[in-house]
Subunit: 200 residues, 2 copies
DNA sequence: TAAAAGACTGTACACATGTATAGGAAGTGC
DNA sequence: GCACTTCCTATACATGTGTACAGTCTTTTA
């Protein structure tokens, strides 16, 4: 996991400057996009100079990679947090979905960041979506070798299904909210909720 | 609609330089985002100098506005293209959905641009999502006063439903495609299709 | 034909960006 | 005490950015 051990000169925050940089970067990247966030903005938010960012991460892209790795870590932690007790596969999968959903609810910046990451991909770069796909594929393989997952679909189909179920609603919900925001008659009411499913 | 009348010095393309600038801007903004696209890139793609962009649009934000207005125009044209013949409301709405879907299929850049636009909003600026919402609300009002739309839901609910149906799948499909892309076993098969619906 | 208007270019400028680097401050091991 | 590493600041620089503007060419108007 990412290092939490307070190095020499830990700040009052209990977070290392290095960690603070990553955290602020995640928030700013999520809110304004990576391209629109300058290292100086990150530095100011973290109460640090630009030089230190360079010292710790070398380049902006490397900082971005570090942020993405932390995001993947959060997913991995959430999944790992639910015990693989002896129970039906469907229940285990559902429990994992819940754990991931809770993690995302606790870290809204992750959701925003992810939403952006989906748009930028495509290149051959090892990006966030690829890494999360890997993580999910690993999850499916584990379930299969434990005899807990159906083998009637291909692995690919199962991975797509899981990821869409976990992420789909989160990505589309802001559209619904943005639109609903423009109507007074929807002000008090609970927001309409999205239902996302897959057909072959 | 946006001016197509060839001004003085129309190029071989049949498009005015001004129109070409807007078109290239749309494509580049859609592909790389507004922030990551410089006016010089737009100028080069349009075979024009930066000065001319400034001459025609004044500022980058104004160019961006012009692009968005053209996108809204495309939606309005698509909707207006289907005659309001005497037929059941459901059929009319469905026909409009098809027209919009066809327009989007013909202009993939519009889809990409829109997908990005959803993320950036929030501010008080009159942005694309607001404008499209207005357009859809107008559509709903027209249907209502022609006695073609149910009045059992609020206008807001109807607008959200229409927009989500029209746009939802398009926004999420790239996620599905990106993930599917990572699996060889899905290479030949048709991509899984998304189904997006709303619950209250 | 002369003049006004608009399309268009090229250059210049102030500013923000990412990165490099020299050096100071603070902790650790001997 | 001293070297040594790590954390951190400050300054500098090359490059890319949006915008401004003076001037040229072309079309339109009269």
């Amino acid at each position: 996991m990412t290092e939490r051990a307070a190095g020499p000169r830990a700040r009052s925050d209990d977070l290392t400057a290095k960690a603070r940089i990553r955290r602020e970067a995640l928030h700013l990247f999520a809110e304004h996009g990576v391209g629109a966030t300058s290292l100086r903005t990150v530095a100011a938010s973290a109460g640090v100079t630009v030089g230190l960012i360079v010292h710790h991460y070398g380049t902006k892209e490397a900082l971005c990679d570090a942020v993405e790795l932390e995001v993947v870590d959060l997913f991995a932690e959430a999944i790992a947090s639910v015990p693989v007790a002896d129970r039906p596969a469907a229940e285990l999968v559902a429990a994992r979905d819940v754990a991931v959903a809770e993690m995302l609810a606790d870290n809204p910046a992750v959701v925003d960041y992810l939403r952006r990451a989906i748009l930028h991909g495509g290149g051959d770069r090892k990006d966030l979506v690829s890494r999360l796909t890997e993580l999910t594929a690993q999850q499916v393989h584990d379930l299969r070798s434990a005899g807990l997952a159906s083998t009637r679909q291909t692995v690919g189909e199962q991975v797509v299904t899981i990821m869409v179920r976990q992420l789909g609603r989160l990505f589309l919900q802001p559209l619904v909210d943005r639109i609903a925001e423009e109507f007074d008659d929807l002000a008090g009411l609970p927001r309409p909720q999205l239902l996302v499913s897959l057909t072959r």
